[in-house]
């Protein structure tokens, strides 16, 4: 859990969501400080969308407390709705409105000043998502990526303090993804908190200052990408030592060291899996040299973030 001294932007305590006998979220406790771009990762059915729907007041939880910027969303629904900006998965748009009309409607619904002030704000948001040229186009005529950007513009309109974005990057081309990343960073710099989910995991790691991983309705890990990797128990790495002779002796010595397993000899290389701290790994290297073994190279390969999450997803499928 991420700790903060000031009121956190999102504070979830003991959240539970049931659909009949199915538990979608199981006692989730999570804090997101202000100004973060916080990522939520998990396989299908992990509880991401349910979490987002609770945070946006669209789903009443079975129990638990949720505070957005200090506002209890179960007690003060309307204030919570002013604070939050929500971009749902698949980003639906009405088929009977043009882009500017769709945005103007939302600007009016959020009470964003006079007509000219609203127009100005709509123009700003369209600029932000690079859709100014298409403002007179019908929403139903947009491509998937353009639709995503329109809905993102709608989400930005009322300058929400907390933005909940469900899969915002899906359907975007690489350029648009980069722009989205930059836009989210900019918003965070301005004091907004962005809570975002994605299946493009490497991208989420790039985009977010922190992230958390959910599986089967439970929070598995949260923190920076590195902290998450460690919390998920992926301290294991594959080490390859390329030696100038005495491979058998080196292998025998390594085998006797704690944390070393699945050792293999491949020509002048000794390949083995190692579980332990960075210090222990350093000691291992020093030990080899102390044994008089001439070490040419020593390579480390950690499991990628992708691998870890695939593993999580696989465990989700298992009964």
């Amino acid at each position: 859990m991420i700790s903060s001294t000031e009121t956190p932007a999102i504070d979830i305590r003991d959240l539970r969501v049931d659909y009949g006998n199915f538990v979608a979220i199981d006692d989730l406790t999570l804090t997101v400080p202000r100004g973060e771009v916080f990522g939520l990762v998990g396989p299908n059915g992990a509880g991401k969308t349910s979490t987002f729907r609770v945070l946006t007041t669209l789903l009443e939880p079975t129990y638990g407390e949720v505070y957005l910027d200090g506002v209890d969303i179960l007690e003060d629904l309307e204030s919570a709705r002013r604070i939050v900006g929500y971009m749902p998965d698949l980003a639906p748009v009405p088929s009977d409105l043009k882009i500017w009309e769709f945005l103007d409607f939302h600007a009016a619904a959020y009470g964003l000043g006079t007509k000219s002030q609203r127009r100005e704000r709509v123009a700003e948001c369209l600029e932000e998502v690079a859709l100014t040229d298409l403002r007179h186009k019908w929403c139903k005529e947009l491509s998937r990526g353009q639709t995503q950007r329109v809905v993102l513009a709608k989400t930005l309109l009322h300058r929400p303090r907390v933005m909940i974005l469900d899969e915002p990057a899906s359907g975007l081309d690489p350029l648009a993804r980069r722009d989205l990343r930059q836009a989210l960073r900019r918003l965070a710099d301005q004091g907004a908190t962005v809570f975002v989910s994605s299946h493009i995991l490497s991208e989420l790691a790039e985009m977010c200052t922190s992230l958390c991983v959910m599986n089967k309705g439970r929070l598995l890990a949260s923190g920076t990408a590195e902290q998450v990797r460690q919390q998920l128990g992926s301290n294991e790495r594959t080490l390859t030592a390329t030696l100038l002779g005495r491979q058998q002796e080196a292998a025998a010595w390594l085998q006797s060291q704690p944390g070393v397993h699945r050792l293999q000899l491949a020509g002048e290389q000794v390949v083995f899996d190692f579980t332990g701290s960075d210090e222990a790994q350093s000691d291992l290297m020093t030990g080899l040299i102390t044994q008089g073994i001439r070490l040419r190279t020593f390579e480390e390969k950690r499991s990628s973030f992708e691998d870890i999450l695939v593993e999580v997803a696989e465990s989700n499928r298992r009964p």
């Binding site: 669209l58 709705r81 009977d96 619904a109 918003l187 301005q190």
Partner: protein, 562 residues
């Protein structure tokens, strides 16, 4: 974007100014685009103009009416056109539009916008059918000209158009509720048109059988009242003399103009619909009506049914045969038929039972809701659910409704039987006990089943126990008189037949045909006993199921399912 602006708090849009309501304005924008509107406008003007000129020229040149009378002739055809546009097209648009919002997925955005639930309801109810309003406004010049040239008095057309507007609201709210409940766009469209058709044509027919209140869901009573002032004066005089014979709107000892009472009756329903929609806008998971409101609504309808019906008993205007006798000019020797009186009492019981089913179903929590309620209770350290919350059992309120309904049924039956038409006949208090048993057995049996087993089981039971026996019985009746006894036993199996059988068996005026004289009372008592036993068995199942659910949710650890 500055950091200051990023944290700014927007103001709340006004709730009560329709022109400033963002949802209304959004639909004005999308539904009043010149391209789409112009075609509809052209068609409407063409139709209105056609009706106006055709009626007027026929009146002037074929019927040789005076210019003043001829000007009045197009009024009713124009009203029919306006009714079709707003009642049928408008209602379908409201329910279809609402479902479309959910279909497209944009309804979540509308849930999140910081407008009050009421503002959202009004935005939709006036915004979705805005094109139909414009089309009706486009026909108004023809109406205005006819009123002006026809010198129609204000008191003749104003009540009619006020009720036309309240009926429009009632039907549009019906459509909005349908759109909020029915998930498929095409179904919502069809169901809403079906509902309007039902509300306008079938339901008011109940008024002819003693349930006078139902005719006030339409503009018909007001149209009948204003009719003479809207048609040519010569015909108007005849209609006016006929109108003297028609009953006026009576509510217990009070007399009302038809328009006032219609507005009063419709307003109650409109308020109930607004409450339903506001609840749904606040929380999508909410029941359409809260438990207390459902009970109050039920009692309110009972009071209206009784208040409208009882004052018409002594004059004989409540009885359907009186209407026939009047038209056949035989009413000088008219007296109510005993069988029709018993039928009216049974029909009252049946309609009341249907209301118990509908409202009881509305306030019954699903097993999912109950589990949520119990788990929340566990978290809060409680061992019971709040009595009036959506997650609490709907049985208590259904029982109260059933008892209130039985009391209403008893008062109605007593009003009929103890009237001047049947001297010496009384309805003893023990009949009330039996009526309460009928309502409790059928109403609670339905509600217990719904709460324990869910909607699918109730649907299956309705078909197999509710409808099928009546169908089988009908076929048996049609075979021959030798099967009448068996058929009455088969029909009696259906809980829907219990109120009719009860009236036939319990009221002293009942003179059943010889074929049914013995079988109906016996079948009634037997099936009532069975219904009571089955309901008690259902009650034990419900108690056991609720206890098990509570125990599982309060004590046992909850297993995760993948």
């Amino acid at each position: 974007m500055s950091s200051e602006s990023a944290l700014s708090s927007p103001s709340r849009p006004s709730s009560w100014k329709p022109w400033a309501n963002p949802i209304f304005r959004r639909y004005c924008r999308s539904r009043l685009r010149p391209r789409g509107l112009s075609v509809w406008l052209l068609v409407t003007l063409l139709l209105a103009g056609f009706l106006f000129f055709l009626c007027r020229t026929i009146a002037l040149y074929q019927a040789h009416l005076s210019p003043e009378d001829a000007a009045r002739v197009p009024l009713i055809p124009l009203l029919i056109l306006q009714t079709l546009i707003l009642f049928v097209l408008g209602t379908a648009q409201v329910s279809g539009g609402m479902t479309a919002e959910r279909d497209e997925g944009v309804i979540d955005y509308q849930r999140l916008i910081p407008m009050s639930p009421m503002a959202k309801v009004f935005g939709y109810v006036f915004g979705l059918p805005v094109r139909e309003y414009v089309l009706v406004f486009a026909t108004l010049p023809f109406t205005a000209w006819s009123l002006w040239k026809g010198q129609v008095a204000l008191h003749a057309w104003l009540p009619l158009y006020v009720v036309f507007f309240t009926s429009t609201l009632l039907y549009h709210f019906t459509g909005l509720v349908t759109g909020s409940v029915v998930k498929n766009r095409r179904w919502a469209f069809l169901v809403s048109i079906g509902l309007v058709f039902c509300l306008y044509t079938i339901t008011p027919q109940l008024a002819k059988f003693g349930l006078v209140f139902f005719k006030y869901l339409t503009i018909t009573p007001v149209l009948e009242e204003c009719w003479s002032g809207l048609i040519p004066k010569t015909a108007g005089a005849v209609v006016s003399s006929v109108q003297q014979l028609l009953p006026t709107a009576k509510f217990f000892n009070l007399d009302f103009p038809e328009a006032v009472f219609t507005v009063f009756s419709q307003a109650g329903l409109v308020v109930t619909f607004i409450i339903m929609l506001a609840r749904r806008w606040k929380r999508a998971e909410s029941h359409l009506l809260g438990k207390v409101w459902a009970l109050l609504f039920f009692i309110w309808v009972q009071i209206l049914l009784l208040g409208n019906a009882l004052p018409l008993v002594d004059s004989g205007n409540l009885f359907p045969s009186r209407g026939f006798a009047r038209f056949a000019r035989l009413d000088f020797a008219w007296e109510p038929n005993r069988l029709e009186t018993v039928g009216m009492s049974g029909l009252y019981g049946l309609v009341t039972l249907m209301m118990v089913f509908i409202l009881g179903g509305m306030i019954t929590p699903t097993p999912e809701n109950q589990i949520r309620g119990w788990r929340r209770a566990r978290k809060q350290g409680k061992t019971s659910l709040p009595l009036f919350s959506d997650v609490a059992s709907g049985s208590w309120m259904t029982a109260l409704m059933a008892v209130a309904g039985a009391v209403g049924w008893y008062i109605f039956s007593r009003g009929l039987v103890e009237s001047r038409w049947f001297p010496g006949h009384l309805v003893p208090l023990s009949t009330l006990g039996c009526m309460i048993l009928v309502m409790l057995a059928a109403g609670l049996g339905f509600q217990f089943l719904l709460e324990t087993r869910g909607g699918r089981a109730v649907g299956l039971a309705t078909i197999t126990i509710g409808v099928a026996p009546i169908m089988v019985g009908a076929v048996m009746f049609s075979i021959g008189s030798w099967l009448y006894t068996a058929a009455s036993w088969v029909v009696g199996l259906s809980p829907l037949s219990l109120p009719l059988y009860a009236s036939g068996s319990l009221l002293s005026i009942s003179e059943l045909p010889p074929d049914f004289e013995r079988s109906v009372p016996r079948a009634f008592l037997f099936w009532l006993l069975v219904a009571v036993l089955v309901t008690l068995w259902q009650l034990s199942k419900l108690i056991a199921a609720r206890r098990a659910l509570a125990r599982r949710s309060l004590e046992e650890p909850i297993q995760l399912k993948s």
